[in-house]
């Protein structure tokens, strides 16, 4: 029963918290399940922010006031979401939708069976996510004393707070941490991604087989997640925030204010889930906005896309500094200390980690979809994937005594978003690739063209 109580907050409470924002008519073109998941995601980001603010203010956490404050912030964000709404294109036709849905459901089912069977529980849940959540739930705040205790240094005190905050609140509601329920967040969030992506991609600019691409993303992440034992850790949170955020940025240009704000919240979710979420959020926002000539010069898009990350992480670092717990992402060292002579070793270890995670198929299949699929690829996801790959490789060049074991147990899951971004880049090809694709298809059997292509007379 406690397991149900622990998870109930995720399924019932979080969508309610984000609903004041997601009930905005600008989001009405998304499917109802997609809207519910996005509502929960936005609710989670704002809830974690209010928890951090409460800790800063010295106010002990209490579920009801936190929920009310979160919903009030979500409601007030509707003001920021005001602006000229871009009409959504009609949903694209979606070849292979039924089979894609079946494959995504099968992936989630396998992830669920393996999680429930105790086969993919994450060591990190036992080592630090769970213990930190227990300590925070017990203290009813972000326990600075616990984080600054030298004996808990292995718990990475500076790791961003979203997952710990949410786990702590669930622990408070359920009267204790339910480890098995915590591991079930893996199939649960994977299912969230599976219902979100097709709906977002169908509204993308020049969409191509949204359901099939979503199935590739979900099945790749399911395989990587089960091979890397991610159940109960923060990677799955990161995947949901990053990929839903990226899919939103593939919507028609110029993206209207409500969608930019939602994308900004999702990027903040990524940045406050894991350290590598920050370079992702910065790369996605900067590359998107600088790629939009008119948008890049205006201030409002920058604010909508980056302010949620700045505020969320700003509150976290303010807490760390004011309580003398941390002042930076400490373990990452200085860029001047990188062990460049290890580049070959690190590259080979990363390749080995990919191979051991399903014979590298979760990376090779999305790559094949990009290379073999028609219409080329969208540059934004590829550029963000490249940025992330560089960041992660540099991270593994940190001056640790021996990076091999570290890479062995982490590389396949930290690089997982790159596999998914590859697939997303094929979901909405750039204009030139799309034009080529349309010309090719005109000499082919009667194929499905996106509404955007039809509108432009291609």
């Amino acid at each position: 029963m406690r397991e149900v109580a622990w998870l109930a907050g995720w399924v019932l409470l979080l969508p309610l918290l984000g609903a004041p924002l997601l009930s905005h008519r600008a989001y009405g073109s998304f499917s109802v399940p997609c809207r519910l998941v996005l509502s929960a995601a936005a609710g989670a980001v704002i809830l974690s922010f209010t928890q951090t603010l409460s800790a800063l203010a010295g106010l002990p956490w209490s579920a009801l006031p936190l929920a009310l404050l979160t919903a009030a912030i979500a409601g007030s964000l509707r003001i920021g979401a005001r602006g000229s709404a871009t009409p959504s294109p009609a949903a694209a036709e979606d070849p292979g939708r039924s089979l894609a849905g079946f494959l995504a459901a099968a992936s989630i089912g396998i992830a669920l069976l393996l999680t429930a069977g105790g086969a993919v529980g994450s060591s990190d849940l036992l080592l630090f996510w769970g213990p930190k959540a227990q300590a925070f739930a017990s203290a009813r705040t972000i326990d600075a004393g616990f984080l600054s205790d030298p004996r808990n240094a292995h718990m990475h005190p500076y790791y961003p707070p979203l997952v710990t905050n949410l786990f702590a609140l669930s622990t408070t509601i359920a009267g204790g941490l339910r480890w098995d329920a915590a591991t079930l967040t893996f199939p649960l969030l994977l299912a969230g991604l599976a219902v979100t992506l097709p709906s977002l991609l169908r509204r993308a600019e020049r969409p191509w087989a949204p359901a099939a691409i979503s199935a590739v993303v979900v099945s790749a992440l399911a395989l990587l997640g089960t091979e890397a034992d991610v159940a109960g850790n923060a990677d799955v949170f990161l995947w949901l925030f990053e990929l839903a955020g990226m899919a939103l940025l593939l919507t028609p240009r110029p993206i209207d204010a409500p969608r930019l704000l939602l994308a900004g919240l999702l990027l903040a979710g990524a940045a406050t889930s894991k350290v590598e979420g920050l370079p992702f959020a910065l790369a996605a926002a900067l590359l998107y906005l600088t790629g939009q000539r008119a948008r890049g010069r205006a201030l409002k898009p920058w604010v909508l896309l980056l302010a949620p990350t700045a505020l969320s992480l700003g509150a976290w670092f303010w807490l760390g500094l004011s309580r003398k717990v941390f002042d930076r992402y400490g373990e990452y060292g200085s860029p001047f200390d990188l062990r460049w002579e290890r580049l070959g070793l690190v590259a080979s270890q990363i390749a080995r980690a990919f191979w051991s995670a399903g014979w590298a198929l979760p990376f090779l299949v999305p790559l094949a979809v990009v290379l073999l699929g028609p219409g080329g690829a969208r540059r934004l996801p590829l550029a963000v994937a490249a940025t992330l790959a560089v960041f992660l490789t540099l991270t593994y060049l940190s001056p640790v005594p021996d990076p091999r074991l570290w890479i062995e147990w982490s590389a396949s899951r930290t690089f997982a978003p790159i596999a998914a971004l590859l697939a997303l880049s094929a979901a909405a090809p750039d204009e030139r690739g799309h034009a080529r694709h349309a010309i090719e298809s005109s000499s082919d059997t009667p194929e499905i063209q996106s509404p955007a292509a039809k509108d432009s007379g291609q």
Partner: protein
Amino acid sequence: MKRAAVALAGAALLVAFAALRLVETRPRNLPESNPFRRTLSPFDGAAFALLERCSGSIPQGAAVAVEAPSRRPGDSAYCMLLARGLLPGRDVRVASPPGAPDGWMPQFLIMLGSRQPDVAGRLLLRTPEGTVWRLRE
């Protein structure tokens, strides 16, 4: 439909490989409720089972030493970190011989595996995953 075929075939391949994990047999004699009973890490499931069971027997603030089934120092250090997470509020360290230079004397000893402790103590709990000992009153 041809255009989606590449993606769908790839997704089907990934699902098939994920399904292979379902037929893997990694039997562990751990309770069905243990969410780590079949993970790749050799210690997580056993440590979780033993530490969850003994947590009620070890009071807050107690000094607790932990030993892994093997004598490799890294294994004991890892098990100690697991114990720190699962036994909050206790002073958990790696077991060291009595009279070690730091002068720290544990009140409880948790031994994963079937080895016998090198020090005298009263057996508090024995499970297939290990034993828990009271070293001094």
